[in-house]
């Protein structure tokens, strides 16, 4: 199954892309998917990361589905 992963600000700079597509095994847990992403781009681990699934903050327990939109970003700094 295929999902898109979005990056913003500092994480987009690390990856050099704002969006990538990744393949995961079916019924992957969100926490596993995010671990895989961080392993793939180890420089992400230099940051405190937040994760979202389909535009909602992720607990990690979500089951990732084909076509889902994941996002990986640093603690927000708007305002």
């Amino acid at each position: 199954m295929k999902v898109s992963v979005l990056f913003f600000g500092a994480t987009a700079d690390v990856i050099g892309e704002r969006e990538i597509n990744l393949e995961f095994s079916d019924h992957a847990k969100a926490s596993d998917a995010f671990s895989e992403i961080v392993n793939k781009f180890p420089r992400l681990a230099n940051h405190k990361l937040l994760f979202a699934v389909n535009q909602e903050y992720a607990s990690g327990d979500e089951i990732v589905k084909d076509g889902d939109e994941l996002a990986v970003f640093t603690a927000v700094s708007g305002g």
Binding site: F8, H47, V76
Partner: protein, 142 residues
């Protein structure tokens, strides 16, 4: 009427405050965040704000709904600007109207604190000799 918006246009805080005025309220409290010239002694040339826009709008919607649940307020208006902002330009405006001003002060302060904690928007500070994406407090959000 409450509202929340994200825009790349300059913000007019007076105009935003006016939009939250209901007939039975007599006071509006407005928080106006802007680009400061010096942060910890270092001079900023300009800022760039970036958002995960659809998620930011969802989080803003939740914030406004929670504010209405937790405070006796009539209307809330929140507008956040994105893109490049020069020194002194307004990045965010939060206006709250309430029948009793106490609630407007409380809700406005709570809203800016929560916005900075939950809404996926990031700020890049650009200096003469470099730039940095500001990362929020790590305790922010699980």
């Amino acid at each position: 009427m409450s509202f929340y918006e994200i825009t790349t246009e300059p913000l007019d805080i007076g105009a935003i405050a006016r939009r939250v005025v209901p007939v039975n309220c007599g006071a509006i409290v407005t928080l106006d965040g802007f680009v400061r010239q010096f942060t910890k002694g270092r001079e900023t040339e300009y800022l760039v704000y970036e958002a995960y826009q659809p998620m930011a709008l969802k989080e803003l919607e939740k914030l406004v709904a929670r504010a209405h649940e937790e405070f006796e307020i009539e209307n809330v208006g929140i507008v956040h600007r994105l893109g490049r902002l020069e020194i002194g330009e307004t990045s965010v405006v939060i206006s709250v109207a309430s029948p009793h001003r106490r609630a407007a002060f409380e809700a406005c302060e709570w809203l800016i604190k929560e916005l900075k904690r939950t809404v996926p928007i990031w700020k890049k500070e650009v200096y003469a000799d470099g730039e940095i994406w500001v990362e929020g407090d790590s305790q922010s959000k699980k």
